[in-house]
């Protein structure tokens, strides 16, 4: 017992000691403070982005500075996060109920997942305001991939597409013509092959590069509509078209022909890129993001800067898909459904999506921004101009399979492609696993929260919320989004007063009343 007292004494003493040493006065004010700055009413917007390297970082800073100059009452605080780390950081922030106001998203299932959880504010009305002025700025049908159940959830900003990049010197040496069909492509692989030159560089240690081949082949063979109905985890998707196995077989055949560098699964993407720009591989299937590595000032040696070009994934004659479709994604920004300043956030997105900002970004980064007229002769080089024209002319741009499939189903495909390279699995086996995983996911999503959870909180709950909104009055649901996340309720107070319309939005704590952005600005 005496010891116990002694221990306590030691602890207390140590505790006092620690109080002195352990809590240094914070050098800067604690967490970025509340919205109200000491001076006046200043709104602070938190923005998270993966643009953490130059020149993207500075370009964004310039755009933000322009915005703050035009809107002195709004302060935009940008946090630049390394892209791989961003994937977990944003999830942690949202899971803890403390997300940034505006944040970066990758298109496809990645974004859809956030939307399903009710984390993203729809901006459909703002896009359509003023006769759809904002909507008309966005290039092509890119907004399609940000629209779910009739609502649009953000803006696509950067267009990134994948092509077969090739070494023009090596192609010229062998007088190779650009292949247009799969068979021509296979022939080209044989022509450019040398003991010290692999036909194609493939760095598959991160899994997704090999899947690009399968993704493109599936699209060429079956068409995007078939794929979309199978990819939707809650759709009828049965993955039973023979095109799936065929696409995987064609990739397996490519591996069997030994067209890739040694051990693609053990090669990083960066090392594969180096094989390509050092002339140790004649072709490299990669994204337009590598422009900056191949260009002057990039990682590639000087003699390579003018020795590259690209062609689209070859056609598969007889396939049902659009044989000229381009594969690509659209990175963009969304607004958190929990933001305290929806108006300011929308204002900021509009600025980010303006022609001036877009041109500034193109000028600094030489990347394709999805705003009509952003790429001009003045601010772009030949490669970017060619690319922009190609995108404009493309009949359709389809996202890669792994960005559209539910994550854990996509994981089966990605690992399956690695296993195909190893030779430890078969196309049939991969498809069996995909079907099994899809069934599991479907069951899980349906269990999650009652009726049709992954699709939202459900109709019953919405009705309850409508009643709660007006205990004494008659409440009637007059409209709702497909997933029941946003519901419009008409409330008729007793005694014949004028009915009012209330919008409800599903949040973590149930339905909350929201006011529409344009109502605010009135």
């Amino acid at each position: 017992m005496r010891h116990a007292i002694a221990v306590t004494a030691i602890c207390l003493a140590a505790g006092l000691m620690v109080m002195g040493v352990g809590c240094p006065p914070p050098q800067t004010p604690a967490t970025p403070g509340p919205d109200v700055a000491p001076g006046g009413e200043k709104v602070q917007l938190q923005m998270w982005t993966i643009w953490n390297t130059e020149p993207r970082k500075s370009a964004l800073d310039e755009i933000v500075a322009d915005f703050e100059r035009a809107n002195p009452d709004i302060d935009v605080v940008v946090t630049n996060v390394e892209p791989d780390a961003y994937k977990n950081r944003i999830r942690v922030a949202i899971g803890s109920g403390d997300p940034p106001d505006v944040f970066f998203v990758w298109s496809g299932e990645w974004l859809h997942n956030f939307v399903r959880g009710g984390n993203v504010l729809p901006i459909t009305d703002a896009l359509s305001a003023n006769g759809g002025e904002w909507r008309s700025r966005v290039m092509g049908d890119a907004l399609k991939w940000y629209t779910f159940g009739g609502e649009t959830y953000g803006i696509p900003f950067l267009r990134q597409c994948t092509f077969f990049f090739y070494n023009t010197d090596l192609f010229a040496r062998d007088q190779v013509e650009i292949p247009e069909t799969w068979d021509e492509f296979l022939a080209v692989c044989e022509t450019v092959r040398r003991p010290d030159v692999a036909p194609i560089a493939l760095g598959n240690s991160v899994k997704w590069p090999a899947h690009h081949y399968v993704s493109c082949l599936w699209q060429r063979l079956m068409g995007q509509e078939q794929l979309m109905s199978d990819f939707d985890p809650l759709g009828p998707g049965a993955y039973d078209s023979p095109g799936y196995v065929q696409g995987l077989r064609m990739f397996q055949d490519l591996v069997a022909r030994d067209v890739f560098n040694r051990a693609p699964n053990g090669t990083t993407r960066e090392n594969a890129r180096a094989l390509f720009y050092t002339g140790k591989a004649a072709m490299f299937y990669t994204g337009t993001w590598d422009f900056n590595s191949f260009r002057e000032g990039g990682e590639a040696p000087e003699d390579f800067w003018d020795s590259w070009d690209w062609f689209n994934f070859p056609a598969v004659p007889g396939g049902e898909g659009d044989q000229e479709a381009i594969h690509g994604g659209a990175d963009g920004y969304v607004i958190s459904s929990k933001t305290a300043h929806p108006d300011a956030a929308i204002q900021f997105l509009q600025h980010l999506n303006s022609l001036e900002s877009a041109q500034l970004f193109v000028d600094r980064c030489r990347e394709l921004v999805l705003v009509n007229g952003a790429v001009t002769e003045e601010n772009a080089d030949d490669a970017l101009l060619k690319y922009a024209r190609q995108v404009e002319a493309a009949p359709t741009i389809v996202p890669w399979a792994d960005t559209l499939m539910e994550r854990s189903v996509a994981e089966v495909l990605l690992s399956g492609c690695q296993a195909l390279i190893e030779g430890s699995t078969t196309p049939e086996q991969i498809m069996d696993e995909i079907r099994a995983r899809q069934a599991e996911v479907k069951q899980r999503l349906e269990e999650l929260g009652g009726t049709d959870v992954s699709q939202g909180p459900g109709e019953e709950l919405a009705k309850l919320a409508a009643i709660a909104e007006s205990p004494d009055a008659a409440a009637e649901i007059t409209g709702h989004s497909e997933d029941w996340k946003s519901v419009t309720v008409r409330v008729t107070p007793p005694g014949g007063a004028e009915p009012t319309t209330v919008d409800l939005q599903w949040t973590e704590s149930g339905y909350q009343t929201v006011t529409r952005p344009e109502n605010d600005s009135q």
Binding site: H3, A4, A6, V7, A9, I10, C11, A13, A14, M17, V18, V21, G22, C23, P24, P26, Q27, T28, P29, A30, T31, P32, I50, W51, N52, T53, R56, T79, N80, V81, E82, P83, A85, N88, R89, V92, A93, G95, S96, G97, D98, E270, N271, R273, A274, T278, G287, W289, D290, N292, S293, G298, E299, A300, P301
Partner: protein, 270 residues
């Protein structure tokens, strides 16, 4: 014969040392080459010193990150030692009810994978409204405690009991015994533990990455990531940053070692 043996042994150690050092030597050499060359000829030696990487690293605020890391590391390590020493002393020397249970409880801290606790810790940090520095120092201290208590306890147990008994007869309290007898004797152990904790905190990534909000508060490992973009990385600047981060630490450590040895020779073990 004995001489040959010694030479053989020294040679063996030197060879091993070289193997251990090679990656670091490569890093330092690489930091003086253009980043693009690293994959074109990874194992070449530069013809002339190329200093742009250091300029890029400096422009990328590597100096600030160094400062932040130094501050966070020193504060965390001091707190860890200050909290752990009394605990280790209690576990090693005092018999009290529930001591084994409490020790086991603290040891569970060794077992927790950082990624499993990101969300609850983030919630905790937002609820407490602590600043960026405290947001990581708190978890660092908590996660540093188990190893430190465990190691210090193991060393304290080895200290002969007579010393303590003599002190108690002299009327010294436990805190005094800890401070004026155990700590000096255990100085090599304390220094060792402090170095481990410093090395761990210096390199810690998952917590720093998720809990630090403001770019100006980044620690070095997070700061280094700002040279690594979505599809492009400035490897030259990263290697320069690593060199800048590692070399001072090694020098510091070299300097520290003298104290460890002095602490040993000055110790009360006769």
């Amino acid at each position: 014969m004995r001489r040959l043996n010694t030479m053989l042994r020294d040679g063996l150690f030197a060879l091993l040392a070289l193997v251990f050092m090679l990656p670091l030597i490569w890093t330092v050499i690489g930091s003086f080459r253009p980043g693009g060359d690293l994959r074109v000829s990874p194992w070449a030696v530069p013809a002339k010193l190329y200093l742009d990487n250091y300029a890029a690293a400096w422009e990328g605020r590597i100096g600030l990150y160094l400062l932040n890391s130094t501050f966070v590391t020193i504060v965390s390590v001091v707190v860890i030692i200050a909290l752990s020493a009394p605990a280790a002393y209690a576990f090693a020397r005092l018999r009290f009810s529930g001591s084994t249970a409490t020790l086991s409880f603290i040891l569970t801290g060794l077992l927790i994978p950082a990624h499993a606790v990101l969300i609850p810790l983030y919630q905790l940090n937002s609820a407490l409204k602590v600043g960026d520095y405290l947001a990581i120092i708190g978890p660092y201290v908590a996660f540093g405690l188990p190893l430190t208590v465990l190691l210090l306890r193991a060393y304290f147990v080895e200290i002969p009991g007579e010393l303590m008994e003599a002190a108690i007869i002299d009327g010294a309290g436990h805190l005094r015994i800890l401070w004026s007898i155990f700590m000096p004797i255990a100085r090599p152990a304390v220094a060792t533990v402090a170095i481990f904790q410093a090395a761990w905190i210096w390199n810690e990534l998952p917590f720093a990455l998720v809990f630090i909000n403001e770019g100006g508060h980044y620690t070095l490992p997070v700061g280094l990531l700002s040279f690594q973009g979505e599809h492009i990385a400035n490897w030259g600047a990263i290697l320069a940053g690593v060199t800048v981060a590692v070399i001072p630490l090694m020098i510091l450590y070299l300097a520290f070692q003298r104290h460890i040895i002095r602490g040993l020779t000055a110790g009360a073990l006769k």
